[in-house]
């Protein structure tokens, strides 16, 4: 299979391979990664054809573009040799085409004059067509990969442009700064689009977000062609009666308005107010046949219990008979607010997975975000369910904590051995106060003290090798 060079953005590194693979799966294309490094924006892959390459990259958020690989090498001499071997047979095809020829450097670069010299050194390809910077028939690019603060590039690639991705356009279009209606915890547009790609959103599919807020995830899913609906425990965010997160913004803004802004209203089924632990959606009894699912995917960012409170329906204490009676008498009065109680985050995660199992079609995906304190960055915390296969884990690191995007695939009935469905009853944190119920919340407000001490230790260890000139142990620290 021909080799292609994927030019990634150097951002959200742990998501890049996962997104690329998801896009290949959606396009039904066999993709094989030949070389990939977290530290480099250049990745070489095997793909069956230009058409396949275009299909995979067109809706990528983390790739900028894809190029047919015409050569590579650690020096320009090696690069030119490689270009001769790999691509000499292709030169004549582009002999008279209008073309663009550019040079880019990662962590380094050249002056305009030096760039011209580099371009001229490819003169042996003998293109006679007119150079054209805008809309040429064919575009070529030299890629220089530098180490930090090093004058000479460590590696070079040369490629013919196959397709650019929708990254820049989509990021601009869905930018939260320009969205009419957002809330304080709206997820960054780039990450919602990325989540939609990783969750295998595709035209004709049905997607649901149980914690929709102002609709960031459903909008991203609708952008890639899915029909979407959502729900939230707070009806004010959906109807837009809770005020705006923007200072000085007044007037009626709601989720429908956002869909209208992006001209995606046709793909929006609507929303309702509900709590996941008492969902009104059809739930499949666990022993029934799993082909009865109806959602192609679920994407969500559940409340972590810090900036957004984690509450479900219910009362902190068992209601007295008189209190029950008073609820019963008054619940139909306009303005009645049902009681809510704090809930355990780990219990909520398991509830989400159980809900996914009961509603997803076979091979349907659920992508959910969850926080993980850095000092607990262990695989064990990731929730699991016998009917779900964990397909990827991506990490977004912040200064003192990090969060993960977990993606699971609903297993087919044939993949789930009989008897595994005896639900594992877990003991959750007991208590009625939010901090009792949520390990992460407690850590967050304690300021991640353990992490701080770990950091100090880290700095101390880094200082030591320099004093005794022990290079080997310094390398250990890096890993």
């Amino acid at each position: 299979m021909p080799e292609y060079l994927v030019r990634f953005a150097q951002a959200h590194e742990s998501f890049r391979k996962v997104e690329l693979q998801a896009l290949a799966d959606i396009a039904g294309v066999t993709l094989q990664i030949i070389t990939y490094e977290e530290d480099s924006p250049y990745c070489i892959v095997d793909l069956p054809s230009d058409t396949a390459a275009r299909k995979v990259i067109a809706r990528s958020i983390l790739a900028q573009g894809i190029y047919e690989l015409w050569g590579q090498g650690s020096t320009y001499t090696a690069l030119h040799d490689s270009v001769h071997t790999i691509s000499a047979s292709k030169w004549s095809q582009y002999e008279t085409a209008s073309f663009r020829f550019t040079v880019e450097g990662y962590r380094g670069g050249n002056s305009t004059d030096e760039q011209r010299d580099i371009i001229d050194s490819f003169a042996y390809m003998a293109f006679k067509g007119p150079p054209r910077m805008r809309d040429p028939d064919v575009a070529f690019r030299v890629f220089e990969d530098y180490d930090l603060d090093v004058k000479e590039p460590k590696y070079l690639y040369f490629g013919r442009l196959i397709a650019e991705s929708c990254r820049n356009e989509a990021k601009r279009r869905f930018d939260l700064k320009k969205r009419l209606y957002i809330s304080t915890t709206s997820m960054d547009a780039e990450l919602t689009l990325l989540t939609a790609n990783i969750a295998h959103v595709a035209p004709g599919k049905l997607f649901y977000d149980p914690f929709m807020g102002t609709g960031g995830f459903p909008i991203a899913c609708a952008h890639f062609g899915a029909v979407v609906f959502g729900s939230d425990i707070d009806g004010r965010t959906i109807r837009g009666t809770g005020g705006s997160a923007r200072r000085g913004q007044t007037g009626k803004y709601d989720v429908v308005g956002n869909f209208k802004q992006y001209d995606l209203e046709s793909s929006y089924l609507g929303a309702f107010v509900s709590d996941l632990t008492n969902t009104p959606l059809r739930i499949l009894p666990p022993d029934k046949d799993s082909t009865k699912g109806y959602l192609d995917g679920i994407v969500c960012d559940p409340p972590y219990g810090i900036r957004e409170g984690l509450k479900v329906l219910g009362s902190r204490q068992e209601l007295l008979e008189t209190e029950r009676q008073s609820h019963q008498d008054q619940y139909k009065i306009p303005g009645y607010i049902p009681p809510k109680k704090p809930y355990s985050f780990t219990a909520l995660l398991d509830d989400i997975l159980a809900f996914a199992v009961a509603t997803l079609v076979e091979d349907g995906r659920i992508s959910l975000w969850m926080p993980t304190a850095n000092d607990e960055d262990i695989e064990l915390i990731i929730p699991s369910h016998p009917c779900l296969e964990l397909s990827s884990v991506c990490v977004q690191a912040f200064n003192k904590w990090s969060r993960r995007l977990l993606t699971y695939r609903r297993r087919r009935a044939s993949e789930v051995p009989e008897g595994t469905l005896e639900a594992v009853k877990k003991e959750y944190e007991k208590g009625t106060r939010a901090s009792d119920l949520n390990d992460f919340r407690r850590k967050y407000f304690q300021g991640f003290r353990e992490l701080e001490s770990m950091k100090k230790e880290f700095v101390r260890m880094k200082m030591e090798p320099k004093t005794n000139g022990d290079v080997a142990s310094e390398a250990d620290v890096k890993t």
């Binding site: 029909v227 609507g270 008492n278 009104p280 609820h327 009645y336």
Partner: protein
């Protein structure tokens, strides 16, 4: 909320969910609105086997909408039988049939704006306001 949503909604009360009468929810005093939407054939085709046909027919009857056919359409019924047998390029330009248009009209263009959704088993009423249904349960029912 578009009418298709009712294909997925039951009563939110846990003890009620096991009762077959909790699905579908019955619209009452419903104010309907037609909101034009783009035809989406791939979606109709995908969702067709997941429709609870009998129940949807019932809801249409209760709302006084045009009656749905007695048996659910097949995927082939959704596209206009093309008379050009040769030419596979036609596949991209499929023409939706009248069946598809009717289904689209009912499921994806008819919206409930105000009213109630009532559980057939426990009679609990869920209010719909500004097109958003409220399924939060009062204190004594959780």
């Amino acid at each position: 909320m578009k009418l298709l949503t009712l294909n997925f909604l039951t009563c939110a009360i846990k003890t009620c969910k096991t009762n077959p009468a909790s699905f579908p929810l019955h619209p009452r005093d419903a104010e309907l609105e037609i909101v034009e939407a783009d035809m989406n054939l791939p979606f109709l085709r995908n969702i067709l086997p997941r429709l609870m046909w009998e129940e949807l027919r019932g809801i249409c009857g209760e709302l006084g909408l045009p009656e749905l056919p007695a048996t659910p359409p097949t995927p082939a019924d959704l596209v206009e039988a093309s008379n050009a047998v040769h030419g596979s390029a036609e596949a991209d330009e499929e023409e939706p049939s009248q069946t598809a248009k009717d289904l689209h009209r009912i499921l994806l263009e008819t919206c409930i704006q105000e009213g109630k959704l009532v559980c057939g088993a426990c009679e609990h009423e869920y209010a719909v306001k500004e097109g958003v249904a409220n399924f939060l349960l009062p204190g004594h029912l959780v």
